[in-house]
Symmetry: C2
Subunit: 315 residues, 2 copies
């Protein structure tokens, strides 16, 4: 099959088809999308080499299985199902897991991919594949509500109107709360406004503007201190940003103001599919451009531009 | 009256008696104790000058008030009762507040002090003043349970067996959970063991030892990274340590492991008085030495020694 290989540089190569083992099934990839993690991987994140990519919609092609012939999305963590964390409902944190296109598991930027059957969710009939490919990042947005109680009567600030920020903003809008999304980039602010979201340039934020909950999805080291500066005492800061190196944080501010800082990562697919299929979250305006698979190296360059929201790949 | 004055150096001076204003009453201080914050104040913390001290038991001496003649302890924050934070149950975070012996309010290391009546709690009949003086630090321990749900079936690590660590350990013991207190100082570990607490030298902790909740009350910058290294994914770290300067923190670990970091400060007096008066928390073994007020400068030196737990002052 054809696959995008990262081994220090990125190129399409001819490689053997993956072989499903045990509970795995073979999936023909139909559509995929480029995530920030993919961009970080080609900068050396996780020391990954091989086929990257973890956001996809595909068709199960292994014959004789319950999902054979169905269009599916797939959870990216492949846990051992046997350790303490798996047995206590934290399989996405299993220390023995592989992670699709990120850690010890070949990814979706290829003709075919294998995943365990239990990772797969058939996409509802009325959900088009171009929307369904947003299930994984939308699940990461929904994760915030799986972790915390967000009161609809609270004021919320979301820092960052990138891919994840736009999905998070949509999920907060559904909560009914008074949310406000900030970004320094006017193109992103305008995109958010176009989508009917409450968005403002970061420069319009004054020191006295404060919220009961802040979400940092800036992807930048400065994000956490900006958010802390605009959080009421006893407020909660959700941290989505991962950055390359340890950062200086004023821990005293956390103690004195009794802030809660909640790290947040992968989330649940089922509610994300519910929101997409019921058209309560609309990801389509976030699609900046769709590339054919043979142009995927160019698609990576395009995805890295500051004004690009989401790049999709047709296989 | 006689009062301990900090104005760059510490000395007992003759000063005018404080004059109660509005809802304030005059309190004759009977016993006080030296807190780490007092030791930090004489190093320049908060830029405080004047009479330090905030842990006390006293007798209300203003005539004709509901509490006249009663022995009381007192909450240290004097809020405006009028701002957004006061009106939303966060008066300990009121931006307009003064703080007894810490910020714009003369403290208890003196013959007399004034505090608003609503800050005062009469001590129960069966509670001796030497135990009651621990109400304020015990309230800070209880605050953890006001902020978080701690499941009795969880494993908890407490880092630090100092003043606050010993009180926090006692409160966790009452929860029924499998807690373990660690300190690098063997004198403190032995004191904890003497008190019937689960304590071990920090050196006995191995990299695979993990807990669902960790409390950092080490008072040291290294505390948060130690605690994070021994926390299960999705675990909660309670931060009690305030340190002088911003510290390098690996934020990625917070996001990847979905840790919750909860800053924690002053707490509720009522449950602390309940626990003390019902002898469920016993602070007496923590009293290292009792000084007379005229020796309070020496008491500060003594309180700063690493092996000292708690120093009390008889007025």
């Amino acid at each position: 099959m054809k696959a995008l290989i990262f081994d220090g540089s990125l190129q399409i190569k001819e490689v053997p088809d993956p072989q499903p083992v045990g509970r795995e099934v073979l999936i023909k990839v139909l559509i995929s999308s480029v995530c920030n993690t993919d961009l970080e991987i080609i900068q050396g994140y996780m020391g990954f080499t091989g086929i990257p990519g973890h956001e996809f919609v595909g068709e199960v092609v292994t014959p004789g299985r319950p999902l054979t012939g169905r269009l599916v999305v797939g959870e990216i963590n492949c846990p051992c199902n046997n350790c303490y964390l798996c047995k206590t409902g934290r399989s996405t944190h299993c220390p023995n897991r592989s992670v699709l296109g990120i850690y010890q598991h070949a990814g979706v930027f290829a003709d075919f991919v294998v995943l365990p059957e239990e990772n797969l969710h058939p996409i509802p009939e009325n959900l088009d594949p171009q929307s369904a490919v947003f299930t994984e990042p939308l699940a990461a947005a929904v994760e915030i509500f799986d972790q915390l109680r967000v009161r609809p009567s609270e004021k919320v600030f979301i820092f960052g109107a990138g891919k994840l920020g736009l999905l998070i903003s949509q999920v907060f809008r559904l909560n009914g709360c008074d949310y406000q999304t900030y970004d320094p980039n006017l193109v992103k602010v305008n995109k958010a406004l176009e989508m009917g979201l409450n968005a403002l340039p970061l420069s319009s934020l004054t020191p006295s503007d404060k919220a009961e909950a802040c979400v940092d999805c800036t992807g930048k080291a400065i994000g956490i201190s900006t958010a802390m500066a605009h959080l009421y005492p006893r407020g909660c800061l959700v941290l989505k940003t991962t950055i390359a190196k340890p950062e200086n944080i004023d821990l005293n501010q956390i103690v004195i103001n009794e802030f809660t800082i909640a790290g947040s990562r992968c989330g649940p697919f089922k509610p994300a599919l519910n929101l997409l299929s019921q058209k309560l979250v609309n990801p389509n305006p976030m699609i900046t451009r769709i590339f054919k698979f043979h142009d995927i190296v160019e698609a990576f360059d395009y995805a890295a531009k500051p004004e690009t929201i989401k790049v999709l790949i047709e296989h």
